[in-house]
Amino acid sequence: MLSIKNLQAKIDDNQILKGINLEVKEGEVHAIMGPNGSGKSTLASVLAGREEFEVVEGSVQFLGKDLLAMSPEERAREGLFMAFQYPVEIPGVSTINFMKTAVNQMRAHRGQPALDAVSFLSLMKERMKLVEIDQSLLNRALNEGFSGGEKKRNEIFQMAMLEPRLAILDETDSGLDIDALRIVSNGVNKLRTKNNAVIVVTHYQRLLEYIVPDFVHVLYKGKIVKSGTKELALELEAKGYDWIKDEVAIA
């Protein structure tokens, strides 16, 4: 479903991604780990279409289409979703109104009629349960004054509403206490099907106890330097990242 080949990207004159190769198939969960500054969040941002990054080399195919040629909204409409590390607070826009616009623009893209108010509300109520989010939160302005945990839960709620084919969770565990982590992870797990895939970008192994990956990749200095199964995450947890850095230095 996602095929990344030799992806290189820079911001200003600073090259951050230096040749990423990654294949993600339907039904898979991939974890991307790595020390701070290795390029994990940049990879997520480039995939989501953040415009301050410039792709200088490489290609990304998503469901058979050239992802890099698409605007951020086209990527979302094609089924790509990024849960933000720092969800933006937007005063004056309610989450409900925002989601209704998003859902209906996606439906229009797929040639489906807009949901009427009743169907939208019943869909919303159903998906709210998945992520244990309260209606009162959704009536408020988008993320405004939300706690860290509420913001992340709202991200997963949006994911539940938009039903992406590929979800990229960018450091979704950062700033979450154990209860919030469990709720968010449960939400993600309930949304998994054999047709969709998840990329979990994280610094720590903690989240991977809840969202169990099929593959773990270590990103370091803009490249994937090691790939393995979930045991690799445990090894990183036990030994830290220094041995990876040493391996790279020797090679």
Partner: protein
């Protein structure tokens, strides 16, 4: 400040306007008018370097765009329906080209709530309340446009709200300039007196027909007695060639409440002076403003909140979005006099610029002579929040819809403050159309 009576071109605009005023004077013997004319002639129109007009070339525009030669043309406008605020049951007073149009006007509130007469009649009949307040609150000594207005106003209303009356239906003053045949110069004057404990909603709405240039000079003096409440709405959404000077002075007594709402949505040059004189204790005043500008529109809001006595509260929130080559000006003065202890005064001005050619000049001016006060001000100018744009687009929302959502939300902070449901939905619709809101 040195007097500045230098014209910007060879054309002697002030003398042309003087002649224009004199031609129209119904009673040349009127001493108030004569004195104001003399003041106007002495002041001249503000020079471009004048501190209060340095971003707003109203004098130059009057020189270049107007001849002042046109006789007052009888208004030909028959149907004014399109200018009314739909769905709002109100008392309607219509002025076309500065002349009162009785055929389009209607007073529906009972006399126990509302007393409306022409200001000319009220002054001619020596109405005590009218004489007490007329020409007492607007500054005509240093303000040339107000002096012009005082010398040359042609029509106006005197509205009196009796003590303890609650006026259930608003009064809407429609100022419509029909510039289809020739340029229009409309000079109007109002006096509004709210009795003790009364409640009143007043709306001014400015529109036009035709492609000619038109200028409105409107001065309103409003007195709000003890415990009275006033909501004042001023709506400028005129896509014609409107040039305008509007001055509103509101004089507040103890424990009165005033909310003002100024909407500059379209026009060529809109200069607004809004002065609140807080001459009492326990007063609460809110001033809200929203200017959404496109094309070459210039909207200049000069506000003054003058805390003259102790224990009062004022809060001001003006927000603006400037697109294309439009220009916004905000000048907010807060005075806290020595005896006005325990004053709370707040001011905020927030601006978004959507194009490289758009501009805003914002200047807070706080002069505080009392020592036990809480005052704050803040102004910001920026572009549309790119981070927020990306967040919305990352959820599949188009760039256009995301932009509309953010601008609509930015405006919403002011619109949400509107107390009158019918006016709120009218403004909400106008703003939605502006942003091509489709969500």
């Amino acid at each position: 400040m040195p007097e500045m009576n230098l014209a910007t071109t060879d054309k002697n605009i002030a003398s042309e306007i003087s002649t224009f005023i004199q031609r129209r004077l119904a009673e040349p013997s009127d001493s108030v008018r004569a004195a104001a004319l003399e003041t106007f002639q002495r002041l001249g129109l503000p020079h471009p370097k004048h501190e209060e007009y340095k971003y707003t070339p109203l004098t130059r525009e009057l020189e270049n765009k107007f001849t002042f030669q046109q006789p007052a043309t009888a208004p030909s406008l028959k149907d004014v329906t399109q200018y009314l605020i739909p769905g709002v049951d109100a008392n309607i007073l219509v002025f076309i080209n500065g002349m009162y149009s009785s055929s389009h006007s209607r007073i529906v509130s009972p006399a126990s709530e509302l007393n409306v007469q022409s200001l000319e009649q009220a002054l001619a009949s020596k109405d005590a309340l009218a004489l007490e307040h007329f020409n007492q609150h607007a500054d005509i000594r240093t303000n040339a446009f107000a002096a012009w207005n005082t010398a040359g106003w042609t029509a106006g209303v005197f509205i009196r709200v009796p003590d303890r009356a609650t006026v259930s239906k608003p009064v809407i003053l429609h100022y419509i300039n029909d510039a289809s045949a020739a340029e229009v110069i409309a000079v109007n004057r109002n006096l509004i007196a709210l009795g003790k404990g009364s409640q009143f909603t007043l709306v001014e709405k400015f529109d036009s027909a035709g492609a000619g240039n038109h200028f409105t000079n409107l001065v309103s003096e409003i007195t709000v007695a003890e415990n009275a409440c006033l909501d004042l709405y001023s709506i400028r959404n005129d896509n014609g060639n409107r040039y305008q000077f509007a001055q509103t002075d509101i004089h507040q007594k103890n424990s009165s409440r005033v909310n003002t709402y100024t909407f500059d949505l379209a026009g060529r040059l809109l200069r607004t002076n809004l002065h609140l004189h807080l001459d009492g204790e326990g007063i609460e005043s809110h001033m809200y403003g929203l200017y959404l500008l496109t094309g070459n529109t210039l909207a200049d809001n000069h506000t003054v909140v003058d805390h003259k006595k102790a224990h009062s509260f004022s809060n001001e929130l003006y927000k603006g979005i400037m697109d294309e080559s439009s220009k916004g000006v905000f000048n907010g003065k807060i005075f806290v006099r020595p005896q006005a202890q325990k004053t709370n005064a707040f001011q905020a001005n927030r601006n978004i610029l959507l194009s490289d050619k758009a501009a805003v000049n914002t200047k807070p001016q706080l002069e505080i002579w009392a020592d036990d006060v809480k005052c704050s001000h803040g102004c910001t100018t920026g572009q549309l929040d790119e981070e927020a744009m990306f967040y919305l687009r990352a959820r599949g929302i188009s760039r256009e819809a995301a932009r509309a959502m953010l601008l609509y939300a930015f405006s919403g902070e002011v619109v949400d403050k509107i107390g009158h449901e019918g006016i709120k939905s009218y403004i909400d619709r106008a703003i939605g159309e502006r942003f091509q809101k489709n969500f």
